[in-house]
C-alpha cells in the first residue's frame, strides 16, 4: 500500500464538497417547501363546519371549544369555535376526525407572540386566519380542493368577491 492513499481519498471528499451548493435555507427570504401532510398550524373554515364537534371529542388536550345552537331547519349554528393554541400539541387528530374536513392542517408556523394569551384563537380570529390563508394560496384548501372566492365574516355572513 502506497503511502498517502488515505490522505488523497480524504482530500477528494473535501474537494467534492467544495463545489457543492450550500444547503442552508435562508429562512426569512426563502422558505423550505412544506410536505403536504406536515403537521403545522390548524386552519378552520367556517363555511365547511357543521358544528358536530367531532374535532373537540377527538382532541386529546381538550383545547377545542364548540358551542352550537339548532337552527329552524335542523342544522347547527356554530356560535363559538375556539382553539387554544397555547395547549395544542399539533397532533392533527382533529383534522383526521372531521368528516367534512372543516379543520385542516397546513397553516403558517411563524405565529410567535410576546403575550401567550394571544395564542387563544376565537371564531373571528380563526375566520380571519382562514380567509388570509385562502387569499395567499389562490383559493385552494390545504387538502387540495378549490374554494369559492368569498369573504366570510365571523358571524357566518358571506360576501362574494
Amino acid at each position: 500500500m502506497a503511502y498517502g492513499v488515505g490522505l488523497a481519498k480524504g482530500l477528494m471528499t473535501t474537494l467534492k464538497h467544495l463545489g457543492r451548493p450550500p444547503v442552508t435555507f435562508e429562512f426569512p427570504e426563502t422558505e423550505r417547501p412544506i410536505p403536504p401532510r406536515a403537521r403545522t398550524n390548524l386552519v378552520w373554515f367556517v363555511e365547511r363546519c357543521t358544528g358536530c364537534s367531532t374535532c373537540a371529542q377527538a382532541c386529546p388536550d381538550g383545547c377545542i371549544l364548540v358551542q352550537t345552537q339548532p337552527r329552524e331547519d335542523g342544522s347547527y349554528l356554530v356560535e363559538r369555535y375556539e382553539i387554544d393554541f397555547r395547549l395544542c400539541m399539533y397532533c392533527g387528530l382533529c383534522a383526521e376526525a372531521c368528516p367534512y374536513e372543516a379543520i385542516q392542517v397546513g397553516g403558517s408556523y411563524t405565529n410567535v407572540v410576546r403575550d401567550p394569551n394571544e395564542l387563544y384563537h376565537d371564531k373571528p380570529k380563526l375566520t380571519a386566519f382562514a380567509n388570509n390563508y385562502l387569499e395567499q394560496h389562490d383559493w385552494i384548501y390545504p387538502n387540495g380542493q378549490p374554494a369559492v372566492r368569498q369573504e366570510i365574516h365571523a358571524d357566518g355572513e358571506r360576501q362574494h368577491l
Binding site: 444547503v23 429562512f27 388536550d61 395547549l87 400539541m89 399539533y90 410567535v112 407572540v113 401567550p116
Partner: protein, 247 residues
Amino acid sequence: MADTQIIPVPLLNVEPPAGTPGPGSALLGTDIEADLRQQLLLTKVDSVLTWARRSSLWPAMFGLACCAIEMIATANARYDIARFGAEVFRASPRQADLMIVAGTVTWKMAPAVRRIYLQMADPKWVISMGSCSNIGGPFAHGYSTLPGVNNVVPVDVYVPGCPPRPESLLSGLMLLQDVMKEEGVSGARGRPEPDGDFSTMLPEGDPIRRELESLFPPYLSLNGEPRDPKTGALPHDTNYQSLSGAL
C-alpha cells in the same frame, strides 16, 4: 467636552434605592440597567449597544425535552442560526445572554431552571419554546408539570408548536431581536416578572416549593432565615461569615 455632562458614578458601591425589597439586594438582585438608567444619559451609544447585543445573542446550552432536538436542528447547517449571530451555545450560564427553554418544565426541574436563569449575567432574555413551556401543553392538567415557565422566569417571546419547526424558533429569535431594538439598552423591559407565589400550585411544606421560594427575592434560606445584609451569606454558611468578619 465641556458641554457633555456625564457623571461617572462607581457602580459597585451603589446603595440600594429606597423600596428595594429585602436585605442583601445590593449584592444579589442588583439591576445594573436600572442603575445605568439613573446615572447615565445614553443616546447614540444606546443604539450601537442594542445592535451589538441583538446581533450576538449567545444561548445557554440546555434542553429539557424533544424541543431541544429542534433547537439542535436550528443550529445545524440547514437552518443555520449562525446567520443571526446566535450560534455560540454556551455550556456555562455565566457566558450566556439568552435562555431557550426548550421542553417540558417539570416541578422537579423548575428550581434548576430558575437557578440557571439567576446564574446568567445581566442583561438576559428568555424564549419559551413549545407548548409545554408556554403553558404546560398536553401535561397542563397533570400533577408533575409546571403550568408555564413564566411562573419561574420572565419570558420575552413565546414560540408555539409541539415541537416548533426550526423556522418557528428563528421567527421567535427575530421577534426577540425586534423587541430588543424597541426597548433599547436604557428602556424598560416589557416582560412581566414572576411573583414567586406557588401557594396555589404546591401544598404547604412541599420541598420543591420551599426550594423555589428560596430562589425569589428576598432570597431567604430553605428554612426561612434571612441573609447577611452585607455579604448575602446564609447564617449557617461559615465560610462567608469568616469572610465578612475579615471585611
